[in-house]
Symmetry: none
Subunit: 207 residues, 4 copies
């Protein structure tokens, strides 16, 4: 999981944050291979050796960045199931995921490219926390489905579908900008106006 060193001075942790912020910018725009730690160091206003003092190598920086960002994926998922209104719970999840795409597109693209291209990693436990919660929620949705609180659906594909439709707006941003006549400002509202009814229709149990 996150291997952030436990005891850091304030300065050290400020530097780490500056670096991670630049790394997010550069990695999400260029992918792992396309990004050079030089450019990242430059964006963070420091020399490369100084960057490497904080993160021992490029791969460490990259995976620390990924794991420090993972909560953005996990958090919205965690909230599912606070209330008993199953359809609404899932729709709220969709809403939160849309917000994420709007507010944190770089993080979304970072993950997308990691999954799409992926680097060989010695330790591939990076996504373990996500997977744990994923399984919990799968179970929850399955229960809801069994109990008739939502229409019967395959919970796996439901979540895949939600991830796909919501993250698409961040990850394929470039294409959508080209194709859409709408201003980007309204785009996410329109997306919500499309997706919420879709999932509502899908999930509302027929009487």
């Amino acid at each position: 999981m996150t291997s952030k060193p436990a005891n850091l001075t304030r300065i050290q942790s400020e530097r780490r944050d500056e670096i991670l912020s630049s790394a997010l910018e550069i990695f999400s725009k260029n992918g792992y291979k396309g990004a050079s730690i030089n450019k990242i160091a430059q964006a963070a206003n420091m020399s490369t050796p100084r960057l490497l003092y904080h993160f021992s190598d490029k791969e460490k920086l990259y995976s620390d960045l990924l794991s420090s960002t993972l909560s953005l994926w996990i958090d919205p998922l965690e909230f599912i199931g606070q209330t008993d209104d199953a359809v609404e719970e899932i729709c709220n999840y969709v809403r939160r995921k849309i917000e994420m795409s709007r507010d944190y597109p770089r993080e979304s693209r970072l993950f997308a490219s990691e999954i799409l291209i992926g680097i060989e990693r010695a330790d591939d436990s990076l996504f373990d926390p996500l997977h744990q919660i994923f399984r919990d929620k799968i179970e929850l949705i399955q229960r809801w489905s069994n109990e008739g609180k939502i229409a019967p659906v395959d919970p796996y594909h439901l979540i895949y579908s939600i991830w796909a439709t919501t993250q698409h707006y961040a990850d394929f941003d470039v294409q959508i900008r080209t194709l859409s006549p709408q201003k980007m400002e309204n785009l996410f509202d329109d997306a919500e106006a499309f997706l919420i009814p879709m999932y509502t229709k899908l999930l509302t149990p027929s009487r």
Copy 2:
């Protein structure tokens, strides 16, 4: 669309195909930056200069590959609207896109990484043919929506959603393999079993 040279000798077109095949493999796995023409040449059993004899440079190889693959994206779209059963037409499109993800995942990932990371291209008209047909179909779906043949939906977001949900199975393959309990063989059937009802519910006009 980069036009494949019209008159090729036998050897040229054989070599081109060998190279493009290896290039698809390597580019889709590693992205543009992560792929070296060395590795591609090696995979195609030839020396790098020999490869470069057939494709003048890396970028040319890459964009020729993209454009030679673009029809896989365009073709299923083109078929929409053969019959008058609007809901069925769109569902069939979904089915075809699922098949594409199953049968041509590398091509799907190639495009995904191009849109996600994208290289600056001198001539960015690569996607023009897709965009043209896209607009045609947007118009068609809008008409269907107006005429009440499908429920009222935003055609843009409908297509984005179809692209997202279907291509997701190819593009995020790695993640899905990890998370899904199903055997991959059934995965695409299950996906279809999930998506077709979803879009049917969404699109069937309420009377």
Copy 3:
């Protein structure tokens, strides 16, 4: 000396001429190293192997070009001494050299870059014909000088100086174009108007 094969078909010798003409253009503009036989072949509208059929390799092409062009340097020199008016003879030589710079600047630059940069040549007898005539004329001028037909001057430096001042207009063309306010059309006339009086003053014997 010139190693032009003795017996050539008409077609062969036409091809050779086409190639030499393109080679002159490319070599004089880019130097030996900067010129590629590809570009030369292209400029001559033929494939590189076909070019290499006529000239076994790049160096051969280059030195054949040099020797086929050498007469432009030699010819004006050869004429010196037709009449007995020594000053006029030399001035006429200057005039002819100026014409050469005006009419054959590429040839002049080709030689200049050969002397300036020079490639290591197995057989460095290329300039032998020039040197032979050079020595003859040195002798002639020395005699004129001894006989008082021209003012006493070092014949070597006289010829160097004539070469330098006249060829300069072809070889340093780029610089002169930048510095000179005159139109290029008049440039060579102006040069003559400057140089002839200079050499006349220099050479006219004082009584």
Copy 4:
């Protein structure tokens, strides 16, 4: 003029000097295209990337070398006009240019090949300082000519002729070595003994 970075560490300026010295040797002997930074690095006893650490690329190294050498061309020109003896002033310029050819032949050849072959440069302002002073001196000589301090001559062609005759000994060194019977030691003295009377005769106003 490419500006040498203002603040250099000790090592930086030492390395720069070593590299520039090797670069002068290699570039002046082989021209821009014929010189490889490999050879230059080797001559400077370092690896190519180490060289490239100090000069970002080949062209930068080349143009830094040119501009650092430009003063050799400019300085002798600048001195013209210190005294009022116009003929002597110009003759002294000739003498200084001959010294330059004797003492800095590689620099002279470097410039000659740049003008002769020239590389396309993003910023072609390299020679601006020279051109500025050139124009000043043109004006001065024109004034002298108008005032009768020297015989009436075209100042442009006068300077071209001085450049041509003096630089010739450095630039065409190879040819001169072959043709001249003199030992090289005396060559420059002999050149001076030829050129000074020539320009004196040319410039001395007839009363």
